[in-house]
Symmetry: C2
Subunit: 238 residues, 2 copies
Amino acid sequence: MLDPERIQELEKLQKTLDYRFGDLNLLNKSLTHKSFVNETASPLKNNERFEFLGDSVLDLIVSDYLIGSFTDFSEGKLSKIRAAVVNETCLAGLARKLNLGRFLLLGKGEEQSGGRDKSSLLANAYEALTGAVYLDGGLGEVKRVFLGGLKQEIRQRVDSRGIQDFKSELQEYTQTHLNCIPAYRVVAEHGPDHEKTFEVELLIQNKAQGRGVGRNKKEAEQAAARQTLETLRPEQGA
Amino acid sequence: MLDPERIQELEKLQKTLDYRFGDLNLLNKSLTHKSFVNETASPLKNNERFEFLGDSVLDLIVSDYLIGSFTDFSEGKLSKIRAAVVNETCLAGLARKLNLGRFLLLGKGEEQSGGRDKSSLLANAYEALTGAVYLDGGLGEVKRVFLGGLKQEIRQRVDSRGIQDFKSELQEYTQTHLNCIPAYRVVAEHGPDHEKTFEVELLIQNKAQGRGVGRNKKEAEQAAARQTLETLRPEQGA
């Protein structure tokens, strides 16, 4: 059904993915944009149904990973992280890393308007590809093939969120409830220069609250803010 | 960790589910509402994280089933059906069939305000329970335990949607594009009374368009509307 040239082309993608499809038509379909088949054939031949499936597959493997890896994060926090990863921008980025654009089958109009590098199109193809691997090899293979890339994105977002999170959450809390903002003070520095740790004390209305330790001041402040939050509103946890 | 009385109680639910947990604490946690633990313990002990996971699990097993069973439905249609099933009303109904309310652990306030029969609470517990089975037994067990109930809900919604869908879609189309509404005419009845089929012809501006056959007039009209839609706007498919 697929011509030899296309098969050779898809071989490259399979190598990048480190996954060999039992049914290569699934892979080909996951890369078939609706513009390619619109005029000639049934809409059932494009990748939109796979995209529908792949979206669910991605949601699950990300949720599964988050639940297992961030055992002290609330459901709300996990949802935020998942939404920060399973979205167009992030998935398009992952698609670009796989060079997915070059393998897409597009209609002429879409090709001419730069469809091969459109984020929406790439993110959809990434989802469709996930759906195709799921249909071909099951959830375990999806995890093996895609979770590595997703984990990196998750880690980046958790780190950047972590840095803002506790300090700004605490500030919001103290502004609302205590009509003031917290202050931070370095109380100690330990260790040699190349592996120094900082200890920070957090003050609210000049009264010492939590303390935190970290490899830099920011990290220590975060830790202090987190500890203080846990004391001020224990019911919400970290 | 769980007292013998609670274990006996959970035994009943396991029988209903036809699933035996390797780790009964997972089942217990999936039934623990935040009101039960709010004052005494960490929020990590309630069912909200499992609910987060279970929501993804349900989305996937429904998507997977839809993709395999409705091979001629567009992605848009599949999404509508999934949204009609994986939502509070439907999941609360499924939770009630399992009598899930009686097994919930609630705080006093929630108990007194009728929490045991609140739809939001029941739907969340159903999701959490799905998450717990996934963690305990994997995706295959989730399918075995929950897909039966979900399939019934899906079938009901597909049937009722099917009945409205094509006729109202076509009417919308003809009103917009042709400034008229379609008419239906029974052109034949076949077979004996107890297994009669009807043949219906669809007319637009007095011109015959599609035809449809069904076990009753409504079904035949739907089939005719569907066929006509496919002729009028082939690019969108059924």
